[in-house]
């Protein structure tokens, strides 16, 4: 077979799989979002409603707005916290040496843990009677002793954030260590010889050169924060009330627990829109290098 046709034959299966498992469901979701799509009614009615589902979400559903708000705050807080802490840890670990490279290796472990399991373990750690973190916090700050963390809206949110930050720091740290390693050593040494203090070397030389990697990290983390579902489901299941109900969780509940497929498809599509923008940013960063 000539290369001319072979090259398309080779990509065909993959393109088909990606089309069937991602593009089709995306389009089909869009179609469903304009229909009644009630699973809990007989024969799964699919009459077209136009934009009624979207209007319903915007105008009639405080729960939708609540989940938008939760997701927004959650994303903002987790992205900022994870990035800042991971950058600090990356700076601490990047010089190398036995201790540092051992810790770098250990960082893989939390990262290989499934998000659902992270949710479970944090529920365990924050148990008001025998949770280890609970014991620790009450030791440091006695008024917090035996507080039912997951029953208080603010504290539950804090725990959810902590679990997410804990789960993502290792990955971001490893990426940033790689980024730091690619900052040419001699530019840093040049700045040291030129008379810059440690902080100024970081601010004037290291950080600007780390920006492309940092941008990738922030975009990626934003995408994953927006999508968060697993930990939340296992940790608080959106509760108490709807205090930790993210958009993904809201879509899951309205669509699959209450059977409103059409409605939840419309909410899901509202979520796809910022994703498209973020993906565009990510791809732009990626191809600017190559």
């Amino acid at each position: 077979m000539r290369d001319k046709s072979l090259k398309y034959v080779l990509v065909l299966p993959a393109v088909f799989v990606v089309f069937a498992t991602a593009i089709w469901p995306l389009v089909e979701s869009l179609r469903l979002s304009f229909t009644v799509g009630r699973l809990n009614r007989p024969n799964f009615p699919q009459e077209y409603l136009g934009f009624e589902n979207y209007a319903w979400a915007f105008l009639e559903e405080p729960a939708f707005w609540n989940s938008v708000q939760v997701t927004a705050i959650y994303t903002l807080v987790t992205v900022v916290l994870t990035t800042v802490l991971a950058l600090g840890l990356a700076l601490l670990l990047s010089p190398g040496g036995r201790l540092r490279s051992t810790v770098q290796t250990l960082l893989i472990l939390p990262f290989a843990m499934s998000p659902a399991l992270i949710g479970v373990s944090f529920r365990f750690m924050f148990n008001p009677e025998f949770g280890l973190f609970d014991a620790f916090f009450s030791f440091v700050f006695p008024p917090l002793a035996h507080i039912s963390w997951l029953s208080d809206p603010t504290l539950a949110f804090a725990v959810v954030v902590m679990a997410d930050v804990w789960g993502w720091i290792p990955f971001l740290t490893l990426v940033l260590i790689g980024g730091l390693a690619s900052v040419p050593r001699d530019t840093i040494e040049a700045a040291q010889v030129d008379g810059a203090s440690g902080w100024r070397v970081f601010k004037d030389v290291t950080l600007p050169q780390l920006m492309p990697v940092l941008a990738v990290v922030i975009i990626l983390k934003t995408i994953f924060s927006l999508k968060t579902f697993d930990q939340i489901y296992m940790l608080t299941n959106g509760g108490p009330g709807t205090a930790t109900q993210t958009l993904s969780h809201y879509i899951y509940f309205s669509g699959l627990k209450y059977g409103q497929i059409g409605y939840s498809a419309s909410v899901a599509w509202l979520m796809v829109i910022p994703m498209i923008f973020l993906t565009y940013l990510y791809a732009k960063h990626m191809f600017r290098k190559g």
């Binding site: 080779l10 469903l32 201790l99 290796t105 472990l109 499934s114 399991l117």
Partner: protein
Amino acid sequence: MTGKQKKQFWNALQVILILTAAFIMLIPIIWIFLAAFKTHVDVYQLKVFFTPTIENFGTVFESPYHLGDKLYNSTVVAGVTVLFAIPIATCAAYSFSRFSLTGEMTMLVMILATQFVPAVVIILPFFVMFRDIGLLDTRLGLILINLAIVMPFAIWMIKGFIDGIPIETEEAAMVDGSTRIQVILNIVLPMAAPGLFTAGIFCFILAWNEFLFALILTNKDAVTLPIGLALFKAEEGDLWNLLSAAGIIIMAPMFVLALIIRKHFVQGMTMGAVR
């Protein structure tokens, strides 16, 4: 000698910070590990020293939990997903790496983008379709949909490995008289084998840890390990010693696999955006 003292102080501070960070990162894992060996009495206390028991690991496989079934499901689903994904991804990755295709950029970006689509969006139409054609609560259904998660990573990762194989080797083989297919089979596949293995492990981990699809699509026969965790919620509360034992069974293989491919983990997750 203040310069020296200052340096020593900074070094000591850094070591303390690093150890603290390492401790925080590991303590939940260690705690689960300890809890898995505690009796159901010890687990409700903050004991660090206790008489370890492996009883929990037996209990989780017995009735009513039957964790063995879930373990089997997880292994089959993740394994078969990888067996499908890697050959398909390898063909595509070779083509993307070595040829210029019309619309190549668009295809690559699309493949990248699909990984960022929220899983809840993908699952809605699949749920409806699987319900209609009877694929709900089957391993086959799970395998098909896991391909959605795994494919983009596999393609990008393998493309990265093939990009790293010098094209001269292939050109030499073609000058020596090989056809393109022979080149792929005799030159590229052996040279890319470690990369394919790495990508395979990476995809296995992703499929193994997958939660949302399995939560929605399974309820009895095809339940995988992460969903199986929900079994250990009893009326009187969570059975933490059993949950922990199950957690270890989920985590431990992934730790081993992750350590094997740790050098490529970052590259895999960022799809080559960071090397």
